[in-house]
Symmetry: T
Subunit: 151 residues, 12 copies
């Protein structure tokens, strides 16, 4: 089982960028965290970051071939990208949307997500630890749906 | 450490109510799941359900005295209750908002939450398993903020 | 066959409350009217009134067990209660929404109903006599759908 | 006592047109039903259908001379015709607006009625049987207001 | 010089229809008034009324052939008819829009005119006497623009 | 009988200001025109122009004492001044609102008038000749209402 | 003369809840203040607090029997409760709406009151001392209207 | 195979009406063009124009009996007619909406079509030549769907 | 301690202007009332009225030098004046906004205040007696904040 | 004569992506179809696809040098890209916008096109065959405008 | 060459008024700065400030006679004054709009300018130094347009 | 001191693209102009243009390392890019937004800037000379803030 973890624009700056909102952990810290979780769950993880909407669209499209699900933090593209929404819908994969900060508590334009309606679920506000819950929730969903397992 | 798990209106019908949206698990199944997670984490859990906005307001107000955090599925009150929002803000506790279904993918009035902006974070779409992630994320937050622990 | 007739907030004041809008009949007059109609149709009626959104939610949820349909005048909650909407949808019963006054001719906020979209049908503006038509229409629907009867 | 029953655009296709929404009964079935109800009530009925907004306006204007009330299913013109609204207001007659389907549960533009605010009342969602309740409610209203009769 | 005076839906009822809003004069009174004004100005007048949007569209289209200008009271179609707007624009004639009542002081939907933006000018609120001012203003405009006359 | 003719901001520039919209006549030309009409009608006219909202408010308030009606071109204040609206309503006098250009055909913010709803009537688009029709319509109204005269 | 003082949801937490917004006084302090004012004015006061919309609706309905007026701080229900609005309108009593904080200076959803339009008046922003002014203004109104007293 | 080509209000004026927007071709030119295309495709064409919404509704309803598809230029009714929308949906035929001018580039109210959502497809901006593409696209669709043919 | 009492446009007409809304008291009555209250409280009062937005802006700006607080009834400027809002914010003084009528119960544009968000508090609907409560509330606030006095 | 055919984001997935909406043809099938049409018309075609907004902007800018017109399916960028709109306007070339599905019948955000207002025309809903009509319509337009040819 | 520098309401308080937003420089400092720049450029400057919308309207109207351009900081009137917009348009002069603070970063009502669309350009956020850039940009524009000079 | 000058989509076409809006100067002319200004001020300038949102995001992120401020003309991305807004906020640098044309005077969607609220200031409408004022204003700001210099 393989999970793709995608990070959108400006997340390469994590740790340096407005730490009062996003915290002091870096993208490398997230990758370390996510890999530890993946080991714990016995799954493979691939982490990528891009500032390009088109590149994210392509990675999501390619994921059909070799991934079982996606965790995506679309960052600013959450609120403006129909292209990523269409890529998610086209992929046919379960996708979890994740935000480090509580986007509901910020500018009103951050309350609209083009992407969430075509995802399995979303979570926001748990800081970089949100990646752990997103990966766990996705893997748990993949295992349950592949085995018919209930609670 | 004690966590209050609150369920709002119509959730007493879970398992019977529109299973294509909410699944077949019941409120009792959720309590079992949540207690198992609590044992695993070494914390105390108290689960309550009410169809009354005022009762939820009171329980949140009372939680200040003996709880460390709250997981709440405000259900329909998510979209209409300023009173629960004010109760959450007044409590001064970290609160996690949770939805069983992916509310972003349903009627447009379900995309607005009065409560999320005063919460720590929110998650939706993971079915009843969302309660596990909500409790884990809340407890992890409580432990980190009480100990200054990082990722 | 049993029909639950529910009345929402402030309807206990009927007859005293703004008679130029709501008329001089009381809630007791409605119950007398409704029972006479029920006798005529050979069905059982149960009438209840509550000012509490949560109590209405509970009665609708309970109706699944022993009622065949519901006539509801949600009064002010028509325009604000997602919880009653969810309860109606969860009940799986045919529900008729009814208003004594012609709500289309009053304040603009009274033109929106959260509840009507999940009902069988609605009627407004016929005064307390509307209860007769609501009960008759509901019973006629129940009999037709249970017997495959056409016009 | 004479009641005019008006049907608006596309209702001549009833029975053939999208039966999952409008059912299998035809306009002729409605006329049969309505005449049976009229016989039962001892009143005269005249049924007309037009696809022309202007023709409906004229029939409503003419009704002042020889009718006591109108039952109208304005169909699509409900949502777009100020002219029919003005005709209803100008007629000075009690008018009941009726819809076969539950218009609240369809496209959002069907939730606005230019006509309901100048009517006595409205009902929707009861299929073609709604014509029975509309005629009964109108006649009952006409008799009560002409005789000062209460419930 | 010939002026076409067009009256839209429900204006055939003038004098009978809501006299508190529209006054007691009839359409015949307006025609008498307008003809007296035409005699005074030495122009020809043709008065027509229709409840049919399509008929008004056709009369406006035909007016290109034998009229110099149009005075129109589009009544309810003011607020809903793009077809009449397009007919006015297509006619290439100067058109004066007129309302008997002060439409600004009534329901908010009466504040929008599809037709006024393609007219020479408009006037409202002067009762049936408005037809005098509309005809005078139109004829004065036609004479000035054909003769280059100033104030 | 005395009529006050008020002109609002920037109208002192008439004739110089954007003649493609407002024409080449000056404020003095309007006064000459209006006085000729007044002579013709046998009434007294007083013309004033101000760029100050407060001054217009005061003149309207003062008019109660010695005027029978007001013709006002509120210019830009049409769309922004609740104060002039309140002054008109407070005056208790019949007021005619007038615009030189066809305001419906310009920027969308010019389609809203705070003042028209409390006026007797309004006219727009007839150039400076509109002042003639406004004065004539007002005087005709004053004479009819003081004498009970009909068409 | 008896005045009912009603406090809505979360006001039982006053003094503990966000003191930077609501101050340090408690509900008991308000009752003490209000009783002192009542003594000074020679009237009877009854103070009640509820977190339940339905309970507030009932208390307002009951007040018809034995109170002369109501001072209400509807708190969060100000912005969401048509039921309390209807109860106030149904009561036929003069009601004063009061807010401790200046609601105009907070979130935009706090700028809309369903209740103020059916009240005698409202005041906000004076802290708990606002209760004094609300009671004094209400009693002064009751005395003036019962005695025809002027300023 | 028979195709009905419908033209809506003001299109009888084509060629005379605002040629800078609509071009110099007339309705007769369109019919000649369309018949040439029909000959080329081996299908039968019937061309009709009406300024009456109700007549268009009737023709669309009648087309069920003897046509295989419809090309319609609803002109002004595009933006205002729910009745034509309902007629198209009721017909069960594939319908192509067509506009001579590029409606997206004109007034904002021309950007909304009530009819397009129930059509097979739409095209705009190609002048009268658009009729050729509309007929060709419709016939090609009819042939493919009747034969299961792919690209 | 000195309090400036400012009255905005049209308030010089008080007593004559629409007494059903504003009552029969005049501006002079208000000044008498306010001075009596000032005597009672031992403070100095200065009353001014202007119809000029700019003059009100200047008086508020000047008040910084010799006043301790302001009571303002901005009348129509409440809903349109950013300039007065900015003057109030610039003054740094506690300001109480006051309305004689219950503005919430009138036209919808009167429900928006540019000024209230930068005031200490506001009150409306108590007639001219509202000036007494406004002055008392302001003085009480000034005394408490200068002495640290609690309830 | 050379035509550039541009396809936007996710169209590389055509045939695999949600075939119930987009059909089973692939991008290669479109290229084959388009080339066959080009051969038939005697023009040169160049087909390109990109998921990158910036790349599409560049290709449109470059087309000025060696293309006579563009057919573009901007896909998701239709609804979000001012940059592509500006590129189209800057190119000075006739551009045809095309959608495979009927975008009017899908989510409401798909009803807005930033690009259509600066295009020659648009078509939607004809499946991949729409590319044929788009190319034919564009070439026909180019030939007519270069030769002054009429219908 | 002469430039008029106009300052709107509350700017006479500069330096005292909310220095965290507007800085500590006074209006006199601005005049000194602007005169130094004017000397440097060899042009004449006239500086005026008014709190009166009408006075600003008059000064702009008068500027036609003896000024070549205007720099205006309309302050609060930016967002509410159609009269100043009309004055600017009527003047026919190039006008530069200037704001000391970054108005885009403040309350949402400050994001709308009635005046900018009829100006040459605007700048905001550079503190009082913005006056230097505004004057330089205006003079540079005047010289280039009078001499046909390019970059 | 080093300043980065960024130009967004379609600006590589400057001089060829719609010169009536953007003028005849090219991007090279801007670079020449900007370098001359930089020389004059004694600072280093780096000019870059990209049509890719993601590339602009990256350059802004990188600027933290070696630039002191940024002048950006985000062109079309001004109105659609939350990603560039986030990059600007994350950079922590003072940024000046610049537009060649007066965006306030164009399509309404150009009046909204996602980027301006997180900038130091903005200017528009001064043609390519705006780059001079933007660079001068930015350098002046950098020098003043680093030296505490006042006007």
């Amino acid at each position: 089982m393989k999970v793709l973890v995608l990070n959108g624009p400006n997340l390469h700056l994590l740790g340096q960028r407005e730490p009062s909102i996003y915290g002091y952990e870096t993208l490398a810290d997230i990758e370390t965290l996510v890999e530890r979780v993946a080991d714990d769950l016995g799954v493979t993880i691939e982490c990528r970051q891009s500032n390009h909407e088109g590149e994210l669209v392509e990675w999501i499209g390619d994921a059909r071939a070799d991934c079982d699900g996606i965790v995506i933090n679309p960052a600013a593209y959450t609120h403006t990208s129909v292209a990523i929404r269409d890529a998610v819908a086209a992929s046919g994969l379960p996708v979890v949307e994740l935000h480090i900060s509580n986007v509901s508590a910020r500018e009103s334009f951050r309350r609209t997500s083009f992407i969430a309606p075509v995802c399995l679920g979303m979570l926001s506000g748990f800081g970089v630890r949100g990646y752990e819950w997103a990966v766990r929730a996705l893997v748990e969903h993949l295992r349950r749906t592949s085995k018919g397992k209930t609670v």
